[in-house]
Structure formats: structure tokens, C-alpha cells
């Protein structure tokens, strides 16, 4: 019986008991439940990674303008900006996360990892990581397997859906997956990988889902970039041995608890936060269909 991803503590215990790497436990889970061979699964993950890389390229090379006009080639502006705030690598990281997410907003092909709304974070972080550290694709595949295990636990203990847990559930989870993946790829211990997840969640807790006009554009796109930055900051802390104090499983529980108590208007309904601002409402009026038959209320 393969491990069922119910907690980080048990994941570690299972991997120790069976002398398996964390990503091998994920591989075994998928083989067991879906009946695919390890080779097929790794091929599928590599294909997903290639789609991520393509999305980054597309976002940086093709025109990215959404129908609403809110997305307007932001990634390219960042990539080509003459002002470098930290380092060229950081500038590229931000540009790439924006690029993949803009492709999503503009009806291009992406990997929903874990969701379409958070589809810029893993591409931005992993493409940049691979470039800086010259990592082989095999390491990227294992890092993605690990991140899938992280997502399975978050789905089980909290949520991955903005409509259920707010933005923390989408961009927060993607950033946690990315932080774990980075820490693994750079040789961090199992505890450091989990700490990276915990630290990221601590940084992303409470984020609400308040999309302007209900579209997956503002603030989703810029949040993908900031979440990519947080994932890297968290991995940096975890790899240095920083202790997040609250164990990762309890961080995930906190995320679930906050998601549950979050008001509906902050859960993808476009009724609160940025969506409810004066400008947000003006944009909504402009881009939403107004010619609509409203049925009478039922008694």
C-alpha cells in the first residue's frame, strides 16, 4: 500500500522506513493509484516541465495583451528594463513568472500547477533555478514530483482552490511547492525542504482572492511574480538552517483554518478587496457582459 499524502511528518517517516527519497514516495503513489509505470509518469512530468519552459518563452517573445486590456506585455517590460533592482537573475525570475502567468491570462498553453491562477510560479522559479545552477532535467523532474507531493498534502489538509481558501490556497500553495523544489534541487535535507514549505506558507497566509472583474488577471499576475520571489527567499532561509518554529504540518493547518473563516467576498467572488474598489468596479462594468436576461426571483 503506497503512502497516502496526509502529512509531512508521515511522508518523512514513510520515506525513512522504506529507504526511499521523498520524490520516490510520490512516484510510488501515482503508480499505485493510477496504474502507470514510473517511466510513463516521469515522461509526463518532463512534458509538463517543457510546457512550463515554453510558456515562459512565449510570454517573453509573443504579444501578451488580454481582451480586458489589463494585461499588456508586463513580463517583457520587466525583462528589458534597464534598471536592475537586485541582480539580473532576480529581474529574470520576476519577468519569467509574469511571462508564464500572462500566457495563461491571454489564452495560451500552460500547466495548472497547482491551478491555472498560479501557473506562473513554478515556471518562473524552476527555469531560473535550472539556468543559474545548470541542473539536468532529471533533477527538475524529481523536484516537480516532490512539489506534487507537497500539493497533495495541502489539498488534503487545507485547499488549493481560491474559491475555497482564497489566494493563499493558489499562489501560496504554488510558492510552497516551488520553495520545496528549490531546496531539494540545491541539496537541502528533508527537514530543510519541509522548512522551506513552512516558511513560504507563513509568508503567504491570509492572502485573499479578489480578482478585478472576476478575471484571472489583476492581481493574479503580479502575485505570481511576488510569490516566486517569496519562494526563493524561503528556500534561502531554509537552506541556511533557519527554523520556522511552527512545524510545516501546523502551518498547513493554519492555512486551512484561515481559509475556512475567510469571508465569501474574498474567495474568487469578485465582491471584495481590489475587485470592490472604485476602479475595480469601473473595469468590471466595462468588460462584463451587460446584455443579460435576469430571471425573476422564485418565491
Amino acid at each position: 500500500m503506497a503512502f497516502l499524502f496526509n502529512s509531512f511528518l508521515d511522508w518523512k517517516a514513510y520515506s525513512v522506513a522504506h529507504s526511499m527519497e521523498l520524490y520516490d514516495v510520490v512516484l510510488e503513489y501515482e503508480q499505485d493509484h493510477k496504474g502507470q509505470s514510473a517511466e510513463e509518469i516521469m515522461k509526463g512530468i518532463l512534458r509538463a516541465y517543457q510546457v512550463m519552459c515554453d510558456a515562459v518563452k512565449t510570454g517573453l517573445n509573443e504579444e501578451m495583451k488580454s481582451r480586458s486590456g489589463m494585461i499588456n506585455d508586463g513580463a517583457k517590460k520587466v525583462f528589458q528594463s534597464p534598471i536592475t533592482v537586485l541582480s539580473p537573475e532576480f529581474q529574470k525570475l520576476v519577468a519569467r513568472a509574469l511571462a508564464a502567468k500572462e500566457v495563461n491570462s491571454c489564452m495560451g498553453r500552460i500547466v495548472a500547477a497547482p491551478t491555472a491562477g498560479a501557473s506562473g510560479i513554478l515556471p518562473g522559479t524552476l527555469v531560473t533555478l535550472q539556468e543559474i545552477h545548470q541542473l539536468p532535467d532529471s533533477v527538475m523532474v524529481n523536484a516537480l514530483l516532490l512539489s506534487a507531493g507537497i500539493a497533495l498534502i495541502i489539498q488534503e489538509k487545507a485547499s488549493l482552490a481560491g474559491a475555497v481558501g482564497g489566494c493563499q490556497a493558489e499562489t501560496g500553495s504554488a510558492a510552497a511547492m516551488a520553495a520545496g523544489a528549490i531546496t531539494f534541487a540545491l541539496g537541502g535535507t528533508v527537514d530543510q525542504q519541509f522548512n522551506a514549505v513552512g516558511i513560504t506558507i507563513q509568508c503567504m497566509l491570509g492572502l485573499v482572492c479578489d480578482p478585478v472583474a472576476g478575471l484571472v488577471e489583476v492581481p493574479c499576475v503580479v502575485r505570481n511574480a511576488s510569490a516566486a520571489a517569496i519562494a526563493n527567499a524561503s528556500a534561502q532561509m531554509a537552506l541556511a538552517g533557519l527554523d520556522p518554529v511552527i512545524p510545516v504540518d501546523q502551518c498547513v493547518e493554519a492555512m486551512g483554518e484561515i481559509g475556512q473563516s475567510m469571508e465569501t467576498r474574498y474567495k474568487e467572488t469578485a465582491l471584495g478587496g481590489l475587485a470592490a474598489t472604485r476602479t475595480g468596479q469601473e473595469i468590471a462594468k466595462k468588460v462584463l457582459i451587460q446584455d443579460i436576461d435576469i430571471l425573476p426571483d422564485e418565491d
Binding site: 501515482e30 489564452m107 495560451g108 497547482p114 506534487a148 488534503e156 472576476g214 446584455d291 430571471l295
Partner: protein
């Protein structure tokens, strides 16, 4: 663990954006509908309800549904161009918006499709993450997800018909995962929506079609293949 999601739902699906419920799920509803009609339609009246009614343009659900009706998959880059591609086919389409339909799921689409003498009405719901529910077909409650191999059987409401059909399917080594039955009035027509773990043989389908009390058999194999 209740859900036991595939890791390809965590790293995936690979899809055309922007939203799994507004694009991927909508494409899949279209793909089911053309299999129910048996052909790519010439005319489509597409009604978006409730939450879909206002946002379908911004989310590209209009392009997504036409893409599905033209048999594009959820990761097909042509989805973005589908308004133009439908005109070239030609697939004549009309979009309608209806709000406040309290008996319907927030993300509901009604499709009225026609080609020559064939026509069908399908009501589909996009449940999130690309998961769908085909709620109604020609007024019958069907409630199937089309994630497996599905079979719709319209038959006279005779005693023992369900047991008989289940037996025929099991003789083809098919395991039934879900089944729903609905009917329009006692002893009139009944509709069986059956989801199976594996595909069914053409001969089995022919046998079911040949039964005198069976009016129609529609087989919808895995729509994502």
C-alpha cells in the same frame, strides 16, 4: 484520503488558460455534446447562465465552447482563434446570457445543437479544475462526468431493463462506476446514464441498440483521448 488526486492534477492539467473552470471545463462540455449529437453541429445556440453569464467573454468561455464543439482538446492552441475558425467551418453560433437561474449550478451552459435532421439539447456544469457534470440531455437528468467511458441509453420504462442492461455490460467485462436513471413519467421513456471504467465493444453496443425496447444508445468514450 477521500480524493486521491493524480499528481497530474497537481502538476497539470496542461491546458489553455485562463481558468480551469471557464476554459478547460467548458471545452470538455463541448466535446461531450458533439459526441452526443454524433457530429460537429452546423448551428449552435449557446446560453451561459449565472456566474458564466457575465464573465464568459472575459474568461474566453465563448471561444472555449466553440473549440469544444469543433472537437479541439483542452490544450489546443487553436482555442484562442476558435471564433474565427467556427465562422470558416461554418458553425453558426449565437450566444445568450441568463442570470439568476436559481435552480442551475453557478457555472452552467445550455447547448442547443443542430445539423441536418440531428439535434440535441445538453446542459453542462463546470465544477472547477476542469471537472464537469453533464446534468441533462434532451430533458432527461443524466448527471455524468465524462471522465470515464459513458453510455446513454434511452429505453422504454419496462421492468427489469436496468438489470438486463447491467448484465449485458458486465458480460463485456466492463465495470460500472456510476449509473443514474431518470424518466419522463411512469411507463414512458427512461434514460440510463452509465459510467464505465473501461471501453465497451462495438458488438455489445449493436446488441443493445437492437433490443426492441431500446430507442437510442449513445456511447461517449473518454473525451480527453
Amino acid at each position: 484520503m477521500a480524493k486521491q488526486s493524480s499528481i497530474f492534477n497537481m502538476i497539470g492539467p496542461v491546458m489553455i488558460g485562463p481558468s480551469s473552470s471557464h476554459t478547460a471545463g467548458v471545452v470538455r462540455i463541448g466535446r461531450v455534446a458533439i459526441r452526443l449529437l454524433g457530429v460537429i453541429p452546423e448551428q449552435a445556440v449557446i446560453t451561459f447562465y449565472n456566474s458564466f453569464a457575465r464573465t464568459y467573454e472575459g474568461h474566453g468561455s465563448d471561444r472555449a465552447i466553440l473549440a469544444g464543439l469543433m472537437d479541439f482538446k483542452t490544450d489546443d492552441k487553436r482555442i484562442k482563434e476558435s471564433l474565427q475558425l467556427a465562422k470558416e467551418l461554418p458553425l453558426h453560433y449565437i450566444f445568450k446570457s441568463v442570470g439568476n437561474a436559481s435552480t442551475l449550478h453557478p457555472n452552467t451552459i445550455k447547448l442547443e445543437l443542430k445539423k441536418n435532421d440531428k439535434q440535441i439539447e445538453v446542459i453542462g456544469e463546470s465544477l472547477g479544475g476542469g471537472v464537469i457534470n453533464i446534468a441533462e440531455v434532451d430533458g432527461f437528468v443524466t448527471n455524468f462526468s465524462a471522465s470515464l467511458h459513458s453510455l446513454l441509453i434511452m429505453a422504454e420504462d419496462v421492468k427489469g431493463s436496468i438489470a438486463f442492461i447491467a448484465n449485458v455490460i458486465s458480460n463485456d467485462q466492463c465495470n460500472i462506476a456510476n449509473m443514474s436513471v431518470s424518466r419522463k413519467g411512469k411507463n414512458k421513456m427512461a434514460c440510463l446514464a452509465i459510467e464505465m471504467d473501461s471501453g465497451i465493444k462495438p458488438t455489445t453496443l449493436m446488441y443493445l441498440k437492437a433490443l426492441h425496447w431500446v430507442n437510442e444508445v449513445i456511447y461517449v468514450p473518454d473525451i480527453d483521448l
